[in-house]
């Protein structure tokens, strides 16, 4: 498969230079390199600039509600475990309004890949501070600077039970694609938190700020949970790459095989005789 075979032909209306252009290409590339059948891929998203992304990829897509891409993805995966299921949304969607779903999905560990476009700002609503905005971030809803400490997505994911936890820097397309590819290949719940500053609404924490801080993990053992947490807690510098990976029971794998996907279940002649027995 070639990346262009995953191009829906729809044209994005993102700002010039937006990291989403890199991301959409990385997703297509990852799918192509893994030879994923576009008919067997579902990408769900939430609401936000980045959540429009499924429309630009020629697979099945579901742009759901703000904060809910993981819940829709969960339903899709449980109904048809033959599908490759991915969810994509921004940091407000994932760690703010969808925070409850995020921690419980990490805990349950379904075979879903979650890509979070982390730009530390609410872009589509024009620049309010988000759950990952640093303390002191000045925005229309925090004119004197945000008083909240930010969410630490890496630490959150590792402690609540995600089994593949990675951070990618969007200006490193090779790493971005590799992290996504690894996440799709991983059997279990995977998070790829993509550092991707908003060029329009996040001038303070822009490309230069990140460039001074991001570095690639080296000599790190992703099977070592304590080491992964140490890396997650690093604040002055921002390590990127695969923080943590483990093999654990996958939510849904315990379900009986059935006859494949639920959409193919035979619904003719359903016989309730057995169910009636205890009621007699």
């Amino acid at each position: 498969m070639e990346p262009k075979e995953y191009d829906s032909g729809q044209k994005p209306a993102w700002c010039a230079g937006c990291g989403n252009f890199m991301l959409v290409h990385a997703v297509r590339q990852a799918l192509a390199e893994l030879g994923k059948d576009p008919d067997k891929v579902v990408i769900t998203s939430g609401i936000g600039c980045g959540s429009k992304l499924p429309h630009f990829i020629k697979t099945y897509g579901f742009e759901s509600l703000h904060g809910r891409p993981l819940t829709v993805a969960m339903g899709v995966k449980l109904a048809n475990r033959e599908l490759t299921v991915m969810a994509i949304s921004g940091d407000g969607d994932a760690y703010g309004i969808g925070g409850n779903h995020f921690i419980h999905t990490c805990r349950k560990n379904p075979d879903i890949t979650y890509i979070v476009q982390n730009n530390s700002v609410y872009g589509l609503t024009k620049g309010q501070y988000s759950p990952t905005s640093p303390k002191g971030f000045v925005s229309p809803t925090s004119p004197d600077g945000s008083v909240e400490p930010p969410v630490n997505p890496m630490a959150w994911a590792i402690t609540t039970g995600a089994t593949y936890v990675a951070r990618a820097w969007y200006m490193d397309p090779q790493q971005l694609k590799d992290m996504i590819k690894g996440a799709i290949e991983h059997h279990g719940f995977s998070l790829v938190d993509v550092l991707m500053p908003c060029l329009t609404f996040n001038k303070v924490y822009g490309i230069d700020w990140y460039k001074e801080r991001v570095y690639k993990l080296y000599g790190h053992d992703p099977n070592d949970r304590v080491a992964a947490m140490e890396k997650a807690m690093e604040m002055d510098k921002l390590p990127t790459g695969l923080f943590y990976q483990e093999k654990r029971d996958v939510y849904g794998d315990e379900l009986p095989k059935l006859n494949g996907p639920l959409y193919r279940q035979d619904v003719t002649r359903i016989d309730l005789t057995k169910a009636m027995k205890p009621l007699r």
């Binding site: 579901f62 742009e63 809910r68 819940t71 339903g75 779903h101 009986p256 005789t273």
Partner: protein, 576 residues
């Protein structure tokens, strides 16, 4: 005994604190009646507590099918003082009360037989105080001249998992209660249960009937979050999962529950969720998503009093306007309101057929009274369904597929995994492919597409019919769970020679305008009976038809109607 005993017409009540096995005593007794070829209705009332409080359960037994309990009590079992205090006055003339004088004060009553049974002592002699309800059951059987084998067989089945020791202990306790009253009160209570021909009935709760209806309609996916009184739909689905190949999952909240159900539906599963009013509040955005993305889903809403947490274990019909109207913008939905166990089954199954066929959300409204009451009803057989999604073969022939094709209100639907059906679902207004669109003409056409589904569905559902005399002194209009109490009230009125008939609505959206208009115009007088404060259906009828109903009977104390309340109210109106 001077009078002839009353046979197979009994209102039996047992009460005590939570933890005494009151609720199970009700279903055990009713199951025994069913095995004896009789019919029964079981209502239990309990506070939202795990231990303590006042619990009581009423079993109404008849030879014909029973639509509800009655306000009267023929035989009462008072396992504590509160039961005696609250219920002794409702015992009919000639009725009786079973109690242990060592635990409950002897009441000052006339025309009520007092059956002193040393329940505590018999418990101690037979294995402990946990046997209270079993002893009471034995005493009940003895006083009703009810062949012991029926109750014994139910006790055996109920304790089968706990082993022979527990079974024997209960059978001995049952016998001790039975023998005691046979010896002390040989002439019985004046009420008799006598076996009839065996039938093909089951004892089922409204919630279980809803779940069976879902399975019979081909539902394979349910995600939900527990909330009283809807939870046992979810529990029944979970219990059926292995045998019927269902995926049943507990979500982290109701928002996740409804959106998982929508996700499963997107992937082609016939899918549902369930909750009570508070949980439905969290599902409202999902309801809109189901309509906007034209994704079938059935939501079971079991009402309880509100607003907010309200009264968890009590009943109400106060959510009708909420369920009909909630969501942003004009967003149609199907609303179905089954009235008894059979309808919980068949109307729920209908909801699945309609949601799949028209690709729009369907809400099935029940309430605590219907959800958690039990009734004997003919056993459910199953279902023979067809799918409304594309076949893999049809999907593979698609070219330039438009999931939201505007040609018809219902567009052919492919699902993920099918070759050639790739498309995008969206919570945004979208074009025919599913891509976001803010185009004015497109918005109008898509809105009209969503609305015309309801018009199509209207032609596809049966119109409600008048039950009873075509000419009557009063026409009763009701919806949902009032069906049983209204039908029992009609039976009481018939005995008095009062002619009434009944229009029961079990589908409210699409709204059965013609049937209601005709019923009101044909009636000499009309009364609406609703378990809410404002007469929600009465208001909707006025809005949709311009017609007024003459009278309303509204109850909003958290309790369901007693048939006597309805019949008494109607008699009073007609006497005016």
């Amino acid at each position: 005994m001077d009078d002839k005993p009353i046979t197979n017409d009994l209102c039996w009540k047992i009460g005590g604190p939570a933890g005494f096995g009151i609720a199970s005593a009700g279903t055990v007794f009713a199951t025994a009646c069913m095995r004896a070829g009789l019919n029964a209705f079981v209502l239990s009332e309990n506070p939202s507590l795990i231990r303590g409080g006042h619990n009581h359960v009423t079993v109404h037994v008849k030879e014909r099918q029973v639509g509800s309990h009655l306000a009267r009590t023929d035989v009462l079992v008072a396992l504590d003082q509160q039961t005696m205090d609250n219920h002794v006055a409702k015992i009919v003339k000639g009725g009786g009360v079973i109690f242990d004088p060592d635990e409950v004060k002897t009441p000052e009553v006339h025309d009520v037989k007092l059956f002193n049974v040393p329940i505590k002592r018999l418990c101690q002699e037979n294995g402990g105080l946990i046997l209270r309800n079993t002893i009471a059951m034995g005493a009940t059987a003895g006083l009703l001249d009810f062949e012991p084998r029926f109750l014994e067989s139910v006790l055996k089945d109920n304790f089968a998992k706990k082993g022979d020791k527990v079974i024997d202990m209960n059978l001995n306790a049952f016998k001790a209660g039975y023998d005691y009253v046979k010896k002390e009160y040989p002439s019985g209570s004046g009420f008799v249960l006598s076996k009839r021909k065996p039938n093909d009935n089951v004892l089922v709760s409204g919630n279980a009937a809803v779940a069976f209806g879902a399975v019979s309609a081909g539902c394979t996916f349910m995600s939900a979050y527990p909330m009283t009184p809807a939870t046992s739909v979810f529990e029944t689905m979970a219990s059926l999962a292995k045998d019927y190949g269902l995926v049943v999952r507990q979500a982290e909240d109701e928002i996740a529950a409804v959106n998982q159900a929508i996700g499963a539906s997107f992937a082609g599963a016939i899918s549902m969720t369930g909750t009570s009013g508070g949980g439905f509040c969290l599902m409202v955005e999902g309801l809109g998503l189901s309509m906007q993305s034209e994704m079938p889903v059935v939501i079971i809403e079991s009402q309880r009093p509100g607003p907010a947490t309200g009264m968890a274990t009590r009943t109400a019909q106060g959510d009708l306007r909420f369920i009909l109207h909630c969501s942003t913008d004009d967003s149609p939905r199907l609303v179905l309101t089954p009235g008894d166990m059979e309808e919980c089954f068949s109307v729920t199954a209908k909801a699945f057929e309609l949601t799949e066929k028209y690709q729009m959300p369907a809400v099935v409204m029940v309430d605590k009274f219907l959800s958690l009451s039990y009734a004997t009803t003919p056993a459910f057989k199953g279902g023979d369904n067809k799918r409304y999604i594309m076949t893999d073969r049809d999907a593979s022939k698609l070219k330039n597929y438009k999931r939201y094709d505007l040609t018809d209100c219902v567009s052919p639907r492919a699902v993920p995994g099918q070759k050639g059906g790739q498309h995008w679902a969206s919570s945004y207004e979208h074009d025919e492919y599913g891509h976001e669109s803010e185009d004015k003409t497109n918005k109008i056409r898509m809105s009209q597409k969503r609305f015309c589904k309801l018009d199509l569905a209207a032609k596809d559902v049966p119109q409600p019919k008048i039950h009873g005399h075509s000419k009557a002194d009063m026409t009763i209009i009701g919806w949902g769970s009032t069906k049983g109490p209204i039908r029992e009230a009609i039976a009481l009125l018939e005995e008095k020679g009062v002619k009434v008939n009944h229009l029961h609505l079990n589908i409210i959206s699409p709204f059965p305008e013609q049937a209601i208009t005709k019923a009101i115009k044909d009636a000499s007088k009309t009364i609406i009976v609703e378990n809410n404060q404002s007469g929600q259906l009465a208001g909707i009828i006025k809005e949709r038809t311009g017609l007024d109903v003459d009278y309303t009977l509204l109850k909003y104390d958290g309790r369901n109607f007693f048939p006597e309340e309805i019949s008494g109210h109607i008699v009073k109106i007609l006497e005016r």
